[in-house]
Each structure stands twice: as C-alpha cells, then as structure tokens.
C-alpha cells in the first residue's frame, strides 16, 4: 500500500511537468494545444536515443526540453504566420511528430539496465545511495516538479511573463502596448512544449523505454490535471496556479490508480483517463454554475 502511494505520487510529480506546459497553453494563453501528444513522446524518443548512445543522463533532460521547444515553435509559426486555426496547427505538428519520433527512436526503444538514468547516475547515488530505487524516483521527481514550479512562478512574474498572461487575457491590449501578440503566443507554445517534452524525458528515464504510442491521451491528462487543480483551489486565491496543477496531477494519477486497483484491466487505461476527465469537467461545470447562481 505504502509502495503504491509512493509510486502514484512519483507519477503525479513527473506528469506535473507536462501539466505546467498545458497550464501555459490552456489556462494562460487559452490555446488548445494538441502538439502535446507529439512533443511528449518526442522528449522521450530523444532521451532514449541519447541514453543508449551514452550521453550524460542529466544532459538528456536539457536536450529533450530543447527539442520540445522546437516542436512548440513549429505549432506557433503554423498558427501565427500561416494563420492556421489553433486546433489544426497543433494537430498538424502532432501528426508530423509521430513520424519524426519513429525516425528518431523506432517504434520501441528500451534502455538497458546497465545504462545510468537520472535516478541511478553517480551524483544521485552519492547522496541517495542508501535508499531504494523507488524512493530515489520519488525524491528526484518531487525535486523536478518543485524546480519546474519555481521556474514557472519566477517567469510569470517577469515583464515577459506578465505580457504572456495579458495575451491570453486580452490580446487587443497587447497590441496597443505596441507588442506583437503573435510572437507572445509563439513564446508561450515554446515554453509549454519544452515542459511537455521534459516530462516525456523523465518518463523515459523512469520506465527505461520509449514507445511511439506513449503520447496518446497526454493532452487529456494534462488538461484534467489543470482543471482539477484549478477547480479545487478556485476559492483560494493565495494558492498559485502552479501549485494547483501539481495537486491536480497527483490526484488524477491517484484516481487512475484506484480504478486499476479496482480490477479494471490495463488495456482500459486510456478509457479510464478520458471518462475520468469527463467526470472532472462535468463536476467543474456544476460547481461553476453554483457560483454563477449565487
């Protein structure tokens, strides 16, 4: 039982990185970014290949974030410069990325036990060598989620971050502030997909594997995490959006874990994910309505 709680929370923290990305696109920019289902496995693919080639495991995280940023850039340029609708721009990049991921890593790629990951590399072992792999995964995922949160919070307080929030809120105002709203949207997509690919990279380290289909449903997961988090903390203004996202991510992973423990076959995982998402949306609407009626 204890093990299960630890591993569920670990999953929640790893996927919180993905949820930060979706927080930027969905919550801040109001942009339904489907790139996610492609940029998440992209991060994993790049990581798997680099790990197999013997690259430092920590560097693979940076590399994954960088390629994720490029994926976001593509969607941004397609949307802003080619004037393609937001949803379609994401679908185009996502679909293209499927082939690119296959080109990078093949349909499946396993990282051998002998290769060090971010959970087993010497620097980590020096500090956490006495603990089990599971605890190390928990601690490192937690630290990554916290680090991601700090970076996000700091960024959103900068002038650039403030302008990003303004674009999603009132794009016309950004134009009158003599700034190109299109460029800000592109920037948001770049940051978001860097986070998403980073999350994919950590999952690759954790599972020691890449599979071409691992991106399916990640967008839905991220959306659910963001919506659960913001619904729970709606009445608490002092709780930062990023904190809410982490809580949402852990809770959603827990819900899925509970469903599996109740005996639902693993093949139904994505179905569970989407049905739970629907439940979250309906509940969110219900609480929103109460507020409007009051």
């Amino acid at each position: 039982m204890f093990d299960m709680i630890i591993s569920t929370m670990t999953q929640g923290f790893i996927y919180a990185l993905l949820a930060y990305g979706i927080y930027i696109t969905y919550k801040i920019l109001d942009f339904p970014d489907l790139t996610v289902d492609g940029s998440f496995p992209l991060g994993a693919a790049v990581t798997a290949v680099l790990l197999v080639r013997g690259v430092n495991p920590y560097l693979t995280l940076l590399a994954a974030a960088a390629v994720g940023a490029v994926a976001g850039l593509c969607t941004g340029l397609i949307h802003v410069k080619c004037r393609v609708r937001d949803l379609l721009a994401g679908i185009i990049t996502m679909t293209g990325l499927y082939s690119i991921n296959l080109q990078i890593a093949g349909s499946n790629l396993t990282v051998e036990r002998a290769i060090d990951t971010i959970f087993t590399a010497p620097p980590v072992m020096a500090v956490l060598g006495d603990t089990t792999l599971m605890v190390r995964k928990f601690i490192i995922s937690f630290l990554l989620a916290v680090l991601g949160k700090i970076i996000m919070d700091l960024y959103l307080k900068t002038k650039s971050g403030l302008l990003l929030r303004a674009v999603g809120n009132n794009a016309a105002l950004v134009t009158t502030l003599a700034k190109d709203k299109g460029n800000m949207k592109i920037l948001g997509l770049v940051i978001a997909n860097a986070f998403v690919a980073l999350s994919g990279a950590v999952v690759c380290h954790e599972q020691r594997a890449f599979s071409a289909t691992m991106g399916t449903g990640q967008m839905v997961f991220g959306l659910a995490a963001v919506i659960i988090g913001s619904t729970i903390f709606k009445k608490f203004d002092f709780v930062k959006g990023t904190t809410a996202v982490v809580v949402g991510s852990v809770l959603y992973k827990a819900c899925i874990q509970v469903a599996i423990n109740l005996g639902l076959p693993a093949n139904l995982l994505k179905l569970i994910t989407s049905v739970l998402f629907l439940v979250v949306l309906v509940l969110g609407n219900a609480t929103g309505k109460e507020k409007a009626d009051a």
């Binding site: 960024y155 307080k157 900068t158 002038k159 650039s160 971050g161 403030l162 302008l163 929030r165 303004a166 809120n169 009132n170 016309a172 105002l173 950004v174 134009t175 009158t176 502030l177 003599a178 700034k179 190109d180 709203k181």
Partner: protein
C-alpha cells in the same frame, strides 16, 4: 501632424457585399489639437480610426504621421506612439490581472518586456497618485483584479493606461458610449483634463453631440465617407448642439432614416 491622403477603402471588393467606405478621403490633424468626430452609423468614423491604427488595410492612399508614411507599419508598431481607448471598457485592461499589474504593463509600453521583474514596487506610489486623481477610490485597490471593477472604473484605468507613456496620438473610440450618463460625464471630464495636461493630440469619435460641441478645439461631422462639417477655432466655439443636430437631421432625412 497626422495626414490621411486620398484614402480609398472598399470592404469585400469584387463581391455582392462590396461596400465603399471611403473614396478619396482626406484629413489633416495638427499636433496638439483635440478633434471630436461625429456622424451616423456607417459614416466611416470607426473605419477611419482603424485605418490610422493599421487594424484594417486600405485599398489606396497614404497614412502619414509627422511627414513619415506609415502604410507599411503593422498595427502593433504604430501603437508605440498611439494610445487607444475603446468603447468596451473590457478592451482596455486585462480582467484577470490586478490594477497594479495592468498599470505596470502600460508603464512599460515601448520598452523591452524581458526577464526583469514585471512589477516595480517603487512605481506603486506614482500609480496610486494617478489613481487618486480619478476620485474613484481605486488608489487602495492596487491588488484587486481588474475584472471586479465596474465599467466606469475600468474605463478610467484604461484611460490612464493608454496615456501613461508619451504619445503622438490618443484615439478615443466612442469611449463613453457604454457608460451611464453620470459616469460618462466623469470620464469625459477626465479625458479632457489628461489631454490638456499632457498636451496630447487627440481624435475622439463620439455619438454624444454635447461632448463633441463642449470639448475639443475642432469638430468634424462625417457622412458616407466624407467630411460634411469641419469647424475649428472661433467657429467651433460658436457652434451649438442644435446647429450640429440640424445638419445631422438633414442628412438623416435625405437618407430616409
């Protein structure tokens, strides 16, 4: 000086809904003048503002500011020296950001939006002072979200934000039209005060003939893409609401409205 030279603007060219708003339209606005623009719906007032700001492309003609042709400048470029307040109070501010955040954004207009702190606390006393001058009690609400303010309060802040940095032009697009009469009067008085204090060049489109007559040093009435009244100086001062209304009605009768 702002010059609109030989402007032609056709909406939906080549289709059955083709509408010609301007055919060889010309207007010059001197620096430091405050121009009120009136005219019925569809007379081209808002189109004119959108052409100046670069929001809509023109079919022919030139937009010239201080001798420089700005036709090729995109809208966001032009806003470096143009401030604009819209009819809808929600357009001029960000509802989910606080007053302080909104004012900080406006304060940074024309500068880089980099990775330095978005909010400069040292500027807060200055923002408070500006807000206090509005007499709306907003100076103690810096950390309140813009969205929770009333339309009039938002419009007042939008006006402050639009005029915070140095401008060539202030564009007022029926900015009192969505407000109740009393609030509209307050905002109008405030607008006049800011324009006088900062010696701004302003173009105000309004449906309120009284404002157009009372405020500003030049009045223009537009009809079907043409200037039908253009009074400034002593002539403008002698102008009454009835005079303007008379012309307005004459046009309306001709059109069968």
């Amino acid at each position: 000086m702002l010059e609109l030279k030989h402007i032609t603007k056709i909406y939906n060219p080549g289709t059955v809904t083709e509408t010609c708003v301007f055919n060889d339209f010309n207007l010059a606005v001197d620096n430091g003048s405050f121009v009120s623009v009136v005219g019925s719906n569809g007379s081209g007032k808002t189109s004119m503002l959108n052409i100046i700001c670069g929001n809509i492309p023109i079919s022919q003609g030139k937009v010239v500011i201080n001798g420089v042709n700005i036709n090729s400048q995109k809208d966001f470029r032009r806003y470096r020296t143009i401030g604009r307040v819209y009819q809808d109070p929600a357009m001029g501010t960000c509802p989910d950001l606080t007053i302080l955040e909104n004012m900080s954004l406006a304060d940074n207009k024309g500068k880089r939006f980099g990775l330095s702190r978005g909010i400069n606390r040292r500027r807060a006393p200055f923002y408070k002072e500006q807000l206090a001058a509005l007499n709306l009690g907003l100076e103690d609400k810096l950390s309140v979200k813009m969205g929770s303010l009333s339309g009039g309060q938002r419009q007042a802040v939008a006006l402050l934000m639009a005029t915070m940095t140095s401008l060539d032009f202030l564009i007022l697009d029926e900015h009192t039209a969505a407000l109740d009469p009393k609030t509209a009067d307050t905002i109008m008085g405030l607008t006049d005060k800011i324009i006088r204090e900062k010696k701004l060049t302003a173009i105000m489109v309004t449906h309120n003939l009284r404002y157009a007559v009372e405020y500003g040093d030049r009045l223009i009435m537009m009809d079907k893409g043409q200037v039908v009244i253009d009074k400034s100086g002593e002539e403008k001062k002698a102008l009454t609401v009835d005079d303007v209304l008379h012309v307005f009605n004459t046009i309306s009768i001709e059109c069968g409205n």
